[in-house]
């Protein structure tokens, strides 16, 4: 039993060390949380499919530093985002704003959905109209009966 306790204590040591190393970040947990919330909304311009939070590019590091400083200066999220958009354009935003140039981007999917839906309805209707009205006569019925009973007789 004693041995297990010792083992557990030894295993916990790296955790203690790591916790100490992370302290500078945790000094202001609120600011870090804001940085994280902002950084996932912002695009890293070097590796364009990564957010500012994910990217290890030097520019992303610099931009995180800028954002951190702006948070320290008590700027609002909107002010920080405006600062970056002024310099890098709407491209830094992962959610592009609705503007004249981005209407196709925003409306496009719904437009395609509407077109596809209309096409489907039209196609189904047209098919219904083109299906021939089949008239089954008494003779046909008798023939079916005949064929089925013939088939049943086979071993």
């Amino acid at each position: 039993m004693m041995r297990i306790w010792v083992l557990m204590f030894v295993m916990a040591i790296p955790g203690l060390v790591a916790a100490q190393e992370a302290r500078p970040l945790a000094e202001n947990p609120q600011a870090e949380a804001r940085l994280r919330a902002l950084a996932v909304e912002l695009r890293c311009l070097v590796c364009q499919n990564q957010t500012l939070a994910d990217s290890n590019a030097p520019l992303a590091e610099d931009l995180r530093r800028e954002v951190r400083e702006m948070i320290a200066k008590n700027m609002s999220d909107q002010e920080i985002i405006d600062f970056l958009v002024e310099r890098y354009g709407d491209f830094v935003l992962y959610r592009p704003p609705l503007r004249a140039t981005t209407t196709l981007l925003w409306i496009g999917p719904f437009l395609l959905l509407a077109i596809a839906g209309t096409a489907l309805v039209l196609a189904v209707r047209r098919r219904q109209n083109t299906l021939p009205e089949v008239i089954v006569s008494e003779a046909d019925h008798q023939r079916v009966e005949q064929l089925l009973s013939d088939g049943a007789k086979r071993p």
Binding site: L45, Q48, L59, L63, E66, E86, R87, Y88, G89
Partner: protein, 175 residues
């Protein structure tokens, strides 16, 4: 035959979109700063570290601001073109040494030649951020009123120089 017409039309439109998409370079993000005043700064100079450089000093001139670094491959690539501009004397080039060390930058210029009137040192990359730099080299054409008129993302090549930069510079100089 008629029923293939619509899918064919859709296909052609799609191919059209994709073909245009292929010719676009996703790395070229249009800068919102074009047409706006060049952000002001005051940075220490590379060769004389006790002196500073500020774009205000160049009011009334058309000039190029080139962000570069000794660690940057594209900068080596465009370097002969910059040397050619410097030799022609048509427009002065001012450098901003972006996130670099002084010694390496000086060595680089000694080794390959210095096309710049003056180089400012942006060690922390803050001025770069103000200019919306996201990868060196980037070159800005700045007019007499201190406005950014053009931004070249990536190396300046002969084609860009002759078709875009020089005609624009001449036009701005005559204003």
């Amino acid at each position: 035959m008629k029923r293939f017409l619509l899918p064919l039309a859709i296909f052609v439109v799609m191919v059209g979109f994709l073909a245009v998409g292929l010719t676009l370079n996703p790395r070229e993000v249009p800068s919102p700063l074009v047409g706006k005043a060049a952000p002001d700064f005051s940075l220490p100079q590379l060769h004389e570290s006790d002196k500073v450089f500020s774009p205000k000093e160049l009011a009334g001139k058309v000039w190029l601001l080139n962000f570069w670094a000794s660690w940057c491959n594209g900068c080596k690539e465009e370097h002969p073109v910059l040397m050619q501009i410097a030799k022609s004397g048509e427009v002065p080039i001012y450098g901003a040494d972006y996130k670099d060390t002084r010694e390496e930058a000086l060595t680089w210029l000694r080794r390959w030649g210095n096309p710049y009137q003056l180089v400012a040192v942006d060690e922390a990359g803050r001025v770069g951020i103000n200019y919306g730099v996201y990868g060196v080299p980037e070159t800005y054409v700045i007019d007499k009123a201190g406005k950014i008129r053009y931004k070249q993302i990536g190396p300046v090549d002969q084609d860009v120089l002759e078709k875009k930069i020089l005609p624009l510079v001449r036009e701005l100089q005559n204003q």
